[in-house]
């Protein structure tokens, strides 16, 4: 089971958290001005990387606050945690482990 470092509460068990998907997706500034393709891209399409992913979590059964994490989706290893609004930590691009 994954251990997650909540920036507010410290290290807790995965079961206390809910996953919020890919982080740093910006809502288009003028939704009524953009094309269906751009809107569909914002709503449905995801990077889904095999490797480093920046993602959101919420400490549902704890402080109820959102924060961000960096995780290697091949090994599930967490590489960093940071609060919403903060700049993501610099992660050296690692070679993706082959399965």
């Amino acid at each position: 089971m994954l251990l997650i470092q909540c920036p507010f509460c410290g290290e807790r068990d995965l079961t206390e958290f809910s996953h919020g998907g890919e982080a740093h997706i910006t809502r288009p500034a003028n939704p009524d001005k953009i094309s269906d393709e751009e809107w569909g891209d914002y709503i449905f399409f995801r990077t889904n990387p095999k490797g480093i992913q920046y993602e959101r979590w919420i400490h549902s059964h704890g402080c109820r606050r959102w924060f961000n994490a960096v995780r290697d989706t091949v090994s599930d290893e967490f590489l960093g945690f940071y609060k919403s609004g903060e700049q993501p930590p610099k992660i050296k691009r690692r070679k993706v482990l082959r399965k």
Binding site: E22, D41, R46, P49, T73
Partner: protein, 432 residues
């Protein structure tokens, strides 16, 4: 007796047709030589420089696509590229359940088309895929469930998909080990008698053998590393065994669709998450249908070896680890023991995980792409196995003609722009 000692790549075209038919007589004949001389089921050729069609992904769907391309459309200059071994991804990791009682018209058409093909698949392939239409029963544990199965059962009825409402008494007769008055009492169920299970490995092997005998090259340990795209048209694929030219390319991957799309400079409306399943030690026959329950999140069937096969839900985060979290197992085991108290002393034998490509409306993508002659058949999420023959059949027709088959057309990637989603999530969130 065919000579089993052929080296890879040494067979000639005329020998394709010489693959001997499996029958009681071939079994007897081979028993005389202690079953040491069975011929190889498929060749292991080196890739040719060019093919009419390249299928990426040697799982059930990819092999079925190749088979129907050769069988129904006469396109035999086809290669199936598999980065690992045949059927080693989700084809070999699922819980083998086959059914078609989906809520929406588009899904019902796709999955019922598959069931029509499942019923004669062993005869068609001359390979026993052990399709066992033992019935699939969905339980309802509360008023909402009763309304859901009512809505879905009636929708199935309109779509000519068989559905039968079952009372708790009937359920007790069909599944004597069930505890109806558990924490969430069983109030009723809906049964699809045409549904059941099939042997997952045999599906891959049967399609591979049949496709190979029609001239399809099945190339294992051949990983695609990039696409050769010129002016928006696909020209070939780059692999760890060199560049292979192709007229058309079909991506039929599971668990890596995003990686392949990235190579083509695209993104997909897909997230890849882990999904787990596990089996018990073998038992005497104890449950002779497939029982699923969406509310308490568990399903069970008994394999022909006697193992009970269990599955639950996927982990909610993107991961390619092919490994799920323990709390998901607990979510399956708790309700199972409540529903079937006799399972409490059962020992589990194996547990494993796969990576499922889940789209945001829980329906697959069978579609053209912005790159000409590059097609995708991906995103089957947590329940692609049941669709294997149907998916391969309609995708082969689409690849052959260049236009999407009518059953496949609604599953276009464009639905995410037009809003014509096929939102099955509400109907079958767990029991895919």
């Amino acid at each position: 007796m065919p000579n089993p000692g052929l080296t890879p790549g040494s067979m000639f075209l005329s020998e394709y047709a010489m693959k001997s038919k499996y029958s009681i007589f071939s079994l007897l004949r081979n028993s005389l030589s202690y079953h040491q001389n069975w011929e190889r089921k498929w060749r292991s050729p080196d890739p040719k420089p060019a093919y009419d069609v390249i299928i990426i992904g040697g799982g059930g769907h990819g092999l079925a696509t190749a088979y129907y391309l050769a069988r129904q459309h006469g396109i035999t200059n086809v290669a199936v590229l598999e980065k690992s071994w045949l059927g080693g991804g989700n084809t070999g990791r699922n819980t083998t359940i086959v059914r078609s009682n989906y809520l929406l018209n588009e899904s019902a058409a796709m999955y019922d088309h598959a069931i029509d093909l499942w019923e004669n698949l062993s005869q068609e392939l001359n390979y026993n895929v052990m399709f066992s239409p033992r019935g699939v029963l969905h339980l309802a544990h509360n008023v909402h469930d009763m309304q859901e199965i009512g809505r879905r059962g009636n929708s199935n009825y309109i779509n000519d998909v068989d559905a039968e409402f079952i009372t708790p008494d009937q359920i007790k007769t069909m599944v004597p080990i069930i505890n109806l008055n558990c924490r969430y009492p069983v109030m009723g169920g809906v049964l699809q008698r045409r549904g059941g299970t099939a042997r997952h490995d045999a599906v891959a092997w049967g399609y591979a053998r049949a496709a190979d005998s029609l001239g399809v090259d099945i190339i294992q340990n051949c990983e695609v590393t990039g696409f050769d795209i010129k002016k928006g048209v696909i020209k070939g694929v780059k692999t760890n065994r060199g560049v292979i030219k192709a007229g058309k390319v079909g991506v039929v991957t599971a668990g890596h669709s995003g990686v392949l799309a990235d190579m083509a400079g695209m993104r997909l409306p897909i997230e890849s998450t882990p999904l787990q399943a596990f089996v018990s030690e073998p038992l005497k026959p104890i449950i002779d249908i497939v029982v699923m329950s969406n509310t308490i999140h568990a399903y069970v069937s008994q394999s022909d070896k006697g193992e009970l096969v269990f599955g639950g839900s996927s982990d909610p985060y993107v991961s390619y680890s092919q490994r799920g979290a323990f709390n998901q197992l607990e979510h399956v085991v708790g309700p199972l023991v409540e529903l079937y108290p006799i399972f409490s002393r059962l020992r589990m034998m194996r547990q494993w995980g796969g990576t499922v490509d889940v789209t945001l409306d829980r329906s697959p993508i069978v579609s053209k792409s912005p790159v000409k002659n590059l097609f995708f058949n991906v995103g089957w999420g947590t329940g692609g196995f049941k669709a294997t023959p149907g998916s391969g059949h309609v995708f082969a027709a689409s690849l052959a003609s260049g236009e999407m088959h009518p059953i496949a057309a609604p599953f276009s990637i464009d639905r995410h722009y037009t809003g014509a989603l096929i939102d099955e999530a509400a109907a079958a969130a767990v029991a895919h």
